[in-house]
């Protein structure tokens, strides 16, 4: 099918790339907290969905959902800092499995609270941006997808500049390199951790708002986003930004093709299976040198 109808392939590629940029934004947040605080946050996807609901509610109250891109990260920043103060600060220096399990608990909690607050329906915020037709209408691209990819890139660039130039950004990078040394040199690591988690949550908020415009949101859809961002991070490595962007796009394209070839019902399954395959592949590659994934 893919070769018989080349336009479908073009469509899938473009869709996948636009989608992948969004994934890369979430994965960037994941890489940030993993690198700085050494925790793996299973609730990442649920933060995304929560951000999406904020945009959706603005849409319900008559505000254009695109403003959610600005409002949602501000709210999510405080959600993230609050979450850090309540739970995450107790798992930072512990075993990684503790952080996985604790954030798994948070994820379940968030899922159910969102289910109570917003209902179990699949919703989307209609942006009314129309669609673009390419190649004699053979390829259909909703403008909202292009908009979301553009905004994602904008936020990513802003964040990179912020991390390079600002005082907090430097403090975050110093803490990531060596928390103890940073502490000795007068960096308040507690504050840095809180800010990192807040920034991560804010990124999730942006991504969530964009997802609520371009795709659909549902309280239980968080885990796939976590797994996608985890997958992107392990493929790209921590702190490798072009790698994150590229592997995000690759994942997006893979998903679209899986969707076309295998059918929509196997889409999420294919993502999770790809994660297993990537990990196993890396494991075999490293075991030749008698090493293992660290």
């Amino acid at each position: 099918m893919v070769f018989q109808y080349p336009m479908i392939s073009v469509q899938a590629c473009l869709d996948g790339i636009l989608l992948g940029i969004l994934f890369a934004l979430i994965a960037y947040g994941m890489a940030l907290q993993w690198g700085v605080m050494n925790i793996i946050n299973i609730a990442q996807g649920d933060l995304v969905i929560l951000g999406g609901y904020i945009a959706y509610f603005m849409y319900l109250y008559g505000i254009h959902p695109a403003w959610g891109v600005i409002i949602s990260p501000i709210i999510m920043y405080f959600v993230g800092v609050g979450l850090y103060k309540l739970v995450i600060n107790k798992v930072v220096d512990r075993d990684l499995f503790i952080s996985i399990l604790a954030t798994f608990g948070i994820s379940i909690l968030f899922m159910q609270l969102m289910n109570f607050a917003f209902g179990a329906d699949v919703v989307l915020a209609n942006s009314g941006y129309g669609t673009t037709f390419l190649f004699d209408s053979a390829v259909v691209l909703p403008n909202s997808k292009i908009f979301s990819a553009f905004i994602s890139i904008l936020f990513a660039i802003c964040l990179v500049i912020y991390m390079k130039k600002s005082k907090l950004g430097r403090a975050i990078r110093a803490t990531a390199q060596n928390a103890r040394a940073a502490k000795i040199l007068g960096v308040d690591t507690e504050k840095v951790y809180a800010a990192t988690f807040g920034i991560n949550a804010a990124l999730c908020g942006v991504a969530g708002a964009l997802i609520s415009i371009t795709f659909t949101i549902h309280p239980y859809m968080g885990l796939p986003y976590t797994i996608r961002s985890f997958m992107i991070v392990i493929v790209a490595g921590l702190g490798n930004l072009p790698g994150v962007a590229l592997s995000g796009m690759g994942l997006g394209v893979f998903e679209e093709f899986a969707d076309y070839i295998l059918g929509t019902e196997f889409r999420i399954g294919a993502v999770f299976l790809l994660l297993v395959l990537i990990l196993v592949y890396r494991r075999f590659k490293l075991s030749r040198k008698r090493e293992y994934l660290k």
């Binding site: 990684l96 604790a102 379940i108 909690l109 899922m111 289910n115 994660l275």
Partner: protein, 349 residues
């Protein structure tokens, strides 16, 4: 030793007579047995071997589907059964039901073991959190994929054969209770037997420092795979029994239910105390009582409670009940504490 024997005999007698003493709680007691089996087998993995898995749900769900499929497929065409919603078109005679169940349980236990052996070499090479996330992915992928397969009911679910009309109204509950209790006793005997072998020491060595264990000449991969296969065997068995007990299999809500059962087994083992024989048993019992109480009185809020419970247990109570007891009464665990040495160490800290 004598005291232990009396204890085990008392538990055995209590276990066999429990459904007749509390007839209203038969289903709950059977579920408790299954939960204890799952916690015990998770403990071999997470507690003794140090490989924290979310993926044992894979074997549990596999066992569930296999048992039901064999039970139906031995006598009737499977595709038509699932299409018609099961029991309406075909009826098992009692003999067929029990034969199917027996055969199904054998398959449900053996096939996951083989699967564990096959994928073990690839998956168990991962360590720490990579292993945890990879097994999480396996469990969810299995759920999503089985939800797309037509012959086992796809999204609409799979009705297991209804219990045949023998021996009155109570017989279904009693049958499944005894079945799960036998599975529990079997699991406990095997796990307890493991506790007195070199195998358990090797697993502990892998947990404490795998590189050193390898350097000591232990073929760690072999033992890891064997450990996982033992887990898979009993998980599959428990899944098969649970499938018959629930009577209805759904891919993501019953069989590969990573959000419930997959987390429960981790939580129960941690609540009771990882790496102890009795920890998972106690943890599962406490957890089940708590869970049922909460599920009944705060219906709808159960997942909120579950989420909070996970966070609280993991952060504030990672040693579990057995760990707490051990701290409090070290003599009971055969540990001798040199008071002067302890004080010296406290001062050093």
């Amino acid at each position: 030793m004598n005291k232990n024997l009396i204890l085990y005999a008392a538990i055995l007698i209590f276990g066999v007579s429990a459904p007749f003493i509390f007839p209203a709680f038969k289903v709950q007691l059977s579920i408790l047995c299954v939960l204890i089996v799952l916690a015990l087998t998770w403990n071999i993995q997470g507690g003794e071997m140090g490989y924290n898995t979310f993926g044992n749900i894979l074997f549990y769900g596999l066992g569930m589907y296999l048992c039901a499929s064999v039970q139906v497929g031995m006598f009737f065409p499977l595709a038509e059964w699932t299409e018609s919603g099961g029991e309406k078109t075909f009826v098992h005679t009692p003999a067929q039901f029990f034969q199917g169940m027996a055969m199904g349980l054998v398959v449900a236990a053996v096939v996951p073991t083989i699967v564990a052996g096959l994928i073990g070499y690839a998956i168990l090479g991962l360590r720490g959190h990579y292993f945890a996330i990879c097994t999480l992915g396996l469990g969810v992928a299995a759920g999503e994929i089985s939800g797309g397969i037509e012959i086992i009911g796809a999204g609409q679910g799979f009705t297991t054969p209804p219990f045949p009309d023998v021996g009155g109204l109570e017989s279904r509950g009693e049958f499944f209770y005894l079945l799960s209790f036998v599975a529990l006793v079997l699991t406990f005997i095997v796990v307890r037997a493991i506790y007195f072998t070199r195998f358990k020491l090797i697993l502990n060595a892998i947990r404490d420092n795998e590189d050193k264990a390898e350097a000591m000449g232990i073929q760690t991969m072999k033992y890891k795979i064997i450990g996982w296969m033992i887990s898979a065997f009993f998980c599959g068995l428990a899944g098969g029994i649970m499938g018959g007990l629930v009577g209805y299999i759904d891919s993501t809500d019953v069989a590969f239910d990573g959000r419930e059962m997959g987390v429960f087994m981790v939580l129960m083992a941690i609540l009771g105390g990882k790496g102890t024989l009795w920890g998972p048993v106690i943890g599962a019992t406490v957890f089940h009582i708590f869970k049922e109480g909460f599920w009944t009185f705060f219906l709808g809020w159960q997942y909120v409670a579950l989420g909070v419970l996970i966070v609280v247990i993991v952060i504030y109570f990672p040693e579990g009940i057995m760990g707490w007891l051990r701290e409090k009464y070290p003599e009971r665990f055969g540990e001798v504490i040199d008071e002067a040495d302890r004080k010296a160490q406290v001062e050093l800290k």
